[in-house]
Symmetry: C2
């Protein structure tokens, strides 16, 4: 069975990403959290008071798709919102959220270690550089401040 797709780096990139995300989702499942939510926890944890719009830029997701995620995380008492001005909310972790962040970080680091472990050592530095070259500063968006 001949498979020309296997010669294509772009195809390999997609397959690698899907395989990786499946494994990561599996590791997060016991925590009852999804990987997008885990990213949000991490960003709020390292940027207390961050606004939703900052998250949408950093994660490159749509405002409209973030709203229900934030609402649900607030409902689960993982994050709290405080008014910054008439338009925007500042996001912070609750105590529950901080505990969840600890667990999320552990799972994330375990997952990253697993991932790196699958790559021959000699390839690792170039892999990182290559991956970042493929998405960093996407399209026309000049980095905001």
């Amino acid at each position: 069975m001949h498979d020309p797709l296997r010669t294509l780096p772009g195809y390999g990139l997609r397959r690698a990403s899907v395989a990786m995300m499946n494994r990561f989702s599996e590791m997060l499942r016991p925590l009852g959290i999804k990987y997008t939510e885990s990213s949000i926890l991490i960003l709020i944890g390292s940027n207390p008071g961050i606004r939703q719009s900052d998250l949408t830029h950093m994660l490159d997701i749509q405002r409209a798709n973030l709203t229900p995620i934030i609402a649900q995380m607030e409902g689960r008492n993982l994050i709290m919102r405080t008014r910054i001005d008439g338009r925007s909310w500042g996001l912070d972790l609750t105590e529950t959220g901080k505990e969840m962040l600890d667990a999320v970080w552990k799972a994330t680091l375990a997952h990253e270690a697993d991932l790196i472990g699958r790559v021959p050592e000699a390839c690792r530095p170039a892999l990182l550089i290559g991956l970042n070259a493929l998405w960093d500063e996407p399209e026309g968006s000049a980095e905001k401040a």
Copy 2:
């Protein structure tokens, strides 16, 4: 704005994959075809008479999700099905499908060139090896014949 996610290869892998697939989808849009369909065309083109179940294995997608895709591609006169036995169908490209495959290959190669072009030359070989290490022979599935 501090972003710990940027230090994570796994996160970079996902972002790279998403950015890449968005660009590829854009390149395929004029052809009126989606990237999963493009992969199917390529595999049928290089394996005339291939069965749906072979496709599901090679693409690692669910039988149930392939069925409507194949039906739609048959409806668009891109592929034709002939009975192999009482259970399975053999898939082949129609003339229209072969022309589409030509266009798809051109777009695919252009996309792959664009992708590789974004990666510093010194990193390319390691990137390919690394990516394949991350998905090749996923989990428990021993390669079928």
